[in-house]
């Protein structure tokens, strides 16, 4: 395998006296889906925010393509090719798909001194990119609010990929979706991976992770419990790691293995 696109070494993050991250190392290879698993409060969000430039790490280093980087803002991370699809999606329901797709990076055409939003080109690209992700739009100027949750995720992912993301961070993309929608999002992730983009998939659903993941890293109480390759670990083992072992094993027995 080639070298990692993003490598994070011994990341620590303290909020006052609270140690949110106590030395986490993590890397993303091109064309892989790296799942970051952990229960609530494990430090997944803090870690992701460090990676996407929202938080500055208290200690530790971030390398992008082998170069050391310090992200002062989410803009810096975006410029380095790290795109995040947030839980709140960064989509504006009342605006059209095209406008959402291009938001903040509108293509402009010049007419004399006036520059205007090139709607025709923007619409064409949006339609094309969306159909590559397997969604055929009726019209690109329909409001995002009319799309289903899975379709909105796909717009957000398609947008990030189109604008040259090398690493795509998906923060709990499947947590609010139904079965069918989840399958769509997972298959979109697969399409993205095949383009050579590194995907960081945050989830606390082991099944979803197992379905697409190439590598799995489990966080617990701000620490990594290790990284495993696909095939080296079973669903049950992952589940145990996430929940911190024994307690869940006994719980699971009483629930008949349905968790």
């Amino acid at each position: 395998m080639s070298s990692p696109i993003v490598e994070m070494k011994n990341i620590e993050k303290h909020f006052g006296s609270v140690i949110a991250l106590a030395g986490v190392s993590f890397s993303v290879m091109p064309g892989e889906v790296h799942c970051l698993l952990g229960d609530n409060g494990a430090g997944k969000s803090t870690f992701i925010k460090t990676m996407s430039g929202v938080h500055k790490p208290s200690k530790g280093e971030i390398f992008v393509d082998g170069q050391k980087q310090v992200f002062e803002s989410p803009r810096d991370a975006m410029n380095a090719g790290i795109a995040t699809v947030h839980q709140d999606l960064a989509m504006i329901p009342l605006m059209s798909i095209t406008r959402n797709f291009w938001l903040g990076r509108e293509p402009v055409k010049k007419f004399g001194p006036v520059s205007y939003f090139d709607h025709k080109y923007a619409n064409e690209v949006t339609m094309k990119e969306m159909s590559r992700m397997g969604i055929n739009l009726r019209e690109p100027d329909q409001a995002v609010g009319t799309l289903s949750g899975g379709e909105r995720q796909t717009v957000a992912i398609a947008r990030a990929v189109y604008f040259g993301a090398k690493v795509l961070i998906l923060d709990e993309p499947t947590s609010a979706l139904g079965v069918r929608q989840t399958a769509n999002v997972l298959s979109t992730m697969d399409k993205v991976r095949k383009k050579g983009v590194g995907v960081v998939f945050i989830s606390h659903n082991v099944r979803h992770a197992m379905a697409v993941g190439d590598r799995f890293t489990v966080l617990n109480r701000g620490k990594t419990l290790g990284t495993a390759k696909k095939g080296d670990i079973t669903t049950e083992e992952l589940q145990d790691l996430m929940a911190g072992g024994q307690e869940l094993a006994s719980l699971e027995a009483s629930l008949g293995g349905t968790v």
Binding site: M78, I92, L103
Partner: protein, 368 residues
Amino acid sequence: MSDLAVESTDERVKKISLISRLMKRPELGAIAGLALVTLFFLFTADPRMFTLAGIMNFMTPAAQLGILAIGAALLMIGGEFDLSVGSMVAFTGLIFGAAMVTFDLPLFAAIIVTFMAATAMGALNGQIVIRTGLPSFIVTLAFLFILRGLSLVGLKAATGGSTQLRGIRQEFEGSWLAEFFSGEAFTPLFYWLAESGWIDTFKSGKPKVDGVPVDIIWFLLLALAATWVLLRSRYGSWIFAAGGDSNAASNSGVPVRTVKMYLFMFTACCAALVAILTVMDAGSTDARRGFQKEFEAIIAAVIGGCLLTGGYGSAIGAFFGSIIFGMVLIGLSYTNIDQDWYLVFLGSMLLIAVLFNNMIRKRVTGER
């Protein structure tokens, strides 16, 4: 990439008709409202209302309100309110009057000073809202009183005790710039039309309407410019996004704070423009100028399809909303109906518009 994939369609989506397409436009309510109001006056009002002179008659107050409403509409789409625009008209009117009468500045300089004052006040409003995160409703409500008070105090100081500052007309008479801010435009055209018998004339042969009041021209230009910005420029997207979800917008790289700042400054400048136009028309300025205009402007914007929660609306809607206002305000005097019904109308229109807009929004977003 081949374009083949693009053309394949999903069999589950049916073609949507032109009507349901139109139903999704935010300004539809205002256009329907305007049609209704026009019909109403066609049947009840003296036919003189719809002569050229009558139309100019109701379009002038519509334009003065409309300039404010377009500013209010853009700001509302951007997710903020400005309740201080009415007081801003009085305040900038005072600045304008005092600059010319008290400080004896030429018209050109007075206009620049007025716009600078408006921009500064708009920026102050904007900065407080953005930095504190307080609702703009409260911040600008404070400025509604502060600016009205300052106008009163300032007028007394400038005039030595009176709340009216007179003698502005002599100051700008003969200035080449005055043509753009007072009187009528296209006068030669109207004389030519009169000579050719196209429009009504007095017995002397002078046309009954000798031009289009400049207020109307400004109103039209502003409505066109605002619509163009909203629909055809990238800033339009940013304004919609800032109002739709400011968090999501900044995550996408939209400079939300800057957008909102400019909107506050633009709204204040609209108020300054109205102040200059009306002060030059009246030749004086007083403390009650622009009284309660903030509410009328917001109502016109809402009738025009703006959502109170931001992120949706149109400038052309506010344009039609303002014409409805002007029509009813002036139109009632052409009928036998008591003028004071105007206020009842104002409230009812707002209520109907809000209900209607709610329905439209649900259609647009597919909410059920």
